[in-house]
Symmetry: C2
């Protein structure tokens, strides 16, 4: 691609390399000094599949690409260390889009406390973003999806329902509530809370990307347990409630089933004094793997009406 | 994407996780137990930019995606440990293509001795592949591009000119010499030679992806040295010579300037007893950064005629 080296040079100028970066961009690969096991995760974002240019400014796409990957590192109980960002885009794409994308990626790296240590640029018929995030377990074991035990409490940290409410707003051609739309464009990942949860004794954890019910199903399946959520423990945020009212859907539906939030959900031993920011929302029980809502299997065909 | 989980399940069934894999696919992220600093590199392959479906079978694309990334890990003097593979493809793409791609990725992982520990699947208007490779320096320092010193010898390991010769064949609508075409479809990376070179004292190293002259230019620039190649030390492989004769171009041009080979090039202290498989091809000298051929600056405008 013409100008690739110049573009890389401009993008990488002044990059902040944190203490664990031995070698940043500019060589065949980056080098990291990790103090424990390495955590590795990758995600692609494709134009018109994961984002639309008319709905998300380039900066938000750059932020989101970093955020959703670092979120997976958090979900293992690891300290996020670094990301590499590959970007492919049409040759006729406005260069300002690329620069704003990279500015967004760097902004989110700063929020997450990670270093941008490498990447790749290419042309492509559609915009494709691929981020890989590396984390450092620092001597702790990873918090997987399979360690939840009957009797554990279930807790969440971060925002639930916001991104789905934002999507509902955008799909109707509106732009507010703005904080819901912003959450759809870039999730607010509770950075640092993965390590906090691990230190507090979390037995299982994941990040909520497909909706809380669906994702807790992975913990239920992997751990061989039942997870029973108590809707009385959930607060429906004001903005979600407003969108819910406008769309005629129950707010709890957005909270329990809305995707793309990237909150953290975890199980902790009963009696755990939950860290600040974590909210107890249910309990782990023995039984064939399932996620229950107020003790009952959620009946998708009936929708959310009986929770409203 | 409909069927994503089923596809992931089929793709990841029976994956080999090597000794340093603490946790493979199936959680939010993979976990690796590295013994030294971590090396991280990422590359994208885009349909019709990096490969054409009519020129490269899916299996070759899968192999190449892994190979070109692991090659970068080798170039740091690290032991390749693991890769994550993200694949985005059109919804109407034949599922056999995806399965063959993944089979190729796994085949190349076996050749390279790395574990496939994670990935992502998405739909996309064009096929986009993004691989990130992780390496383990195992207590050694990385071999960067900046350590070459005047007096060092320059050596290469692996195939040079083959991929460019294969491309010339394909561009003319032919399919042989088959080994040249195969090299264009999937480079033969000299796996293991990165660590070998590091242990032999390599002062600078990189993998040859843009052509030997261009890539050695990076070592010259980063190290602040002149690299002088001796064309008398290069053997033009038979297949390259045949393609060269058929196209009317000098064989040495393919060897010195052909891209996509993913051989390794390195500098070693003078007098180094080169490891098996490494061939001395030139010398590092003091001076303003430049790459010379037989003591002269290569004149691109005159082409390769004066080397023929």
């Amino acid at each position: 691609m013409t100008g690739e080296f110049e573009l890389i040079d401009r993008i990488t100028r002044g990059l902040v390399a944190r203490d664990d970066v031995v070698l940043s961009v500019g060589d065949d690969a980056a080098v990291l000094a990790l103090s424990g096991h390495a955590v590795v995760t990758t995600d692609v974002l494709i134009e018109n599949v994961h984002f639309k240019r008319q709905w998300s400014p380039a900066r938000a796409v750059g932020r989101k690409a970093v955020a959703v990957n670092v979120s997976d590192v958090e979900a293992m109980g690891a300290r996020p260390s670094a990301v590499v960002v590959a970007l492919a885009f049409p040759k006729d794409l406005d260069q300002a889009w690329v620069e704003e994308f990279e500015a967004g990626a760097r902004e989110e790296c700063d929020r997450a406390g990670v270093s941008l240590v490498g990447g790749d640029l290419s042309s492509s018929a559609v915009i494709a973003v691929c981020v890989t995030a590396i984390g450092d377990l620092g001597g702790r074991a990873a918090v997987t999806r399979s360690g939840a035990l009957p009797g554990d409490l279930v807790a969440v940290c971060g925002r639930l329902g916001w991104a789905a409410a934002g999507l509902a707003v955008l799909q109707r051609g509106f732009g507010s509530p703005k904080d819901m739309v912003a959450e759809q464009q870039t999730p607010t990942v509770p950075y640092g809370q993965g390590v906090v949860a691990s230190r507090a004794g979390a037995t299982a954890m994941l990040d909520v990307s497909d909706g809380l019910l669906a994702d807790l199903g992975h913990i239920a399946d992997s751990s061989g347990v039942v997870i029973d959520l108590d809707t009385g423990l959930f607060a429906v945020p004001d903005g979600v409630a407003r969108v819910a009212a406008a769309t005629g859907k129950p707010g709890i539906g957005f909270v329990l089933a809305g995707g793309e939030d990237h909150a953290l959900a975890a199980a902790f031993p009963a009696g755990t004094d939950l860290p600040e920011g974590w909210v107890r929302v249910g309990e782990v029980k023995a039984g064939d793997p399932a996620v229950l809502v107020d003790g009952h299997a959620f009946d998708g065909s009936r929708g959310w009406d009986h929770f409203a």
